[in-house]
């Protein structure tokens, strides 16, 4: 893994044990909301997560400090013991998740993962970048694998 030291303080800087079963509850929630209210409602909730819960990261992105997002990614993918690589420079950050432990944990818990499970990443990322000079592109590379890229809009 290619790790980078970033000397910035995260707004949410969790420590202690990790309760992976919460990913199962996320999967249940996604299925429940989509079945009852439709996919647009689910996406609106993820949009609120990106805009409101992660207001601090969004604020940094707006100011051009995209390294705060890199720090967030590193902190939480490390905590969840995911297999990933990250390449960081001032203009662009590329996070490649080779093995997403959230996805794998849900598959182990419930057998089949919601086809919309990765929307939590795609839609939250979109909201984080909305109304900023940057875009975040999330490409699904296969089961439990994706590439997330933040760079300046063309």
């Amino acid at each position: 893994m290619n790790k980078n030291n970033l000397d910035q303080k995260l707004r949410y800087n969790d420590a202690g044990n990790v309760h992976m079963d919460f990913h199962g509850a996320t999967n249940t929630t996604i299925e429940f909301i989509i079945n009852k209210y439709g996919i647009d409602t689910m996406n609106d909730i993820f949009k609120k997560v990106g805009n409101d819960v992660y207001k601090d990261i969004k604020h940094h992105i707006k100011k051009g400090n995209i390294k705060m997002l890199a720090k967030h990614w590193q902190h939480f993918f490390d905590r969840e013991n995911a297999d990933y690589n990250i390449s960081i420079n001032d203009e662009e950050i590329i996070l490649t998740v080779n093995r997403c432990t959230a996805y794998e944990h849900v598959r182990k818990l419930v057998g089949n993962v919601s086809p919309n499970f990765c929307d939590q990443t795609i839609k939250t990322n979109e909201a984080l970048a909305e109304n900023t000079p940057y875009e975040i592109k999330t490409e699904i590379l296969g089961e439990a694998a994706c590439r997330q890229t933040i760079r300046k809009r063309a």
Binding site: R11, Y12, D14, G16, N17, V18, H19, M20, D21, F22, H23, G24, A25, T26, T28, T29, F32, I33, K36, T41, D44, I45, K48, V49, D52, V53, Y54, K55, D56, F76, F77, R79, E80, V97, C100, A102, L109, V110, Q120, T121, T124
Partner: protein, 160 residues
């Protein structure tokens, strides 16, 4: 990925949406979560009763970083949550907390305890403070008696 560490803040956004739709929408969701939790708990609770419940919440106490005291005797299990990490995170949040965030806990636990013929007394005490006292009794009459001591007694789908 929304990190598992941030699930409760995502949960909070879901609750706010459902509350706007109406009480029955929130209750339907709590029941769905309860059904999901049955997968890890129902057999354990049925087979071992209070001892199984103790095992489950002792595991949760560690894995979810709870400051919680658990006490088991022949008649009841008592969970005294001194600092609830779930509400603590929702209060330490750039998004607005749902005012009745605590209600979800009784909302999913209550129906599950009803299913295994035990009796839940859920005292949230104060919705703005991350603490509560949960008592689960074998005997219904003892639970009814205990309800009189609660400061803010929670209800759930099936118990109004």
């Amino acid at each position: 990925m929304i990190p598992s560490d941030h699930f409760t803040r995502f949960y909070n956004e879901v609750f706010k949406f459902l509350e706007d739709q109406g009480e029955e929408h929130l209750e339907a969701y709590w029941l769905e979560i309860s059904k999901n939790q049955e997968k890890h708990t129902l057999e354990l609770f049925k087979e071992k009763g209070l001892k199984g419940m103790y095992e489950y919440w002792d595991h949760i106490r560690i894995e979810e970083n709870c400051d919680m005291d658990l006490k088991l005797d022949d008649e009841k299990l008592e969970l005294r949550m001194n600092v609830c990490p779930s509400l603590s995170k929702v209060l330490d949040n750039d998004a607005e907390p749902m005012k009745r965030y605590c209600d979800h806990c009784a909302g999913w636990i209550g129906p599950l305890i009803d299913k295994v013929d035990h009796h839940l007394v859920y005292d949230v005490i104060d919705r703005n403070k991350p603490q509560c006292v949960v008592k689960i009794f074998k005997d219904k009459e003892k639970a009814i008696e205990e309800e009189k001591n609660a400061k803010l007694l929670m209800k759930w789908p099936g118990k109004k």
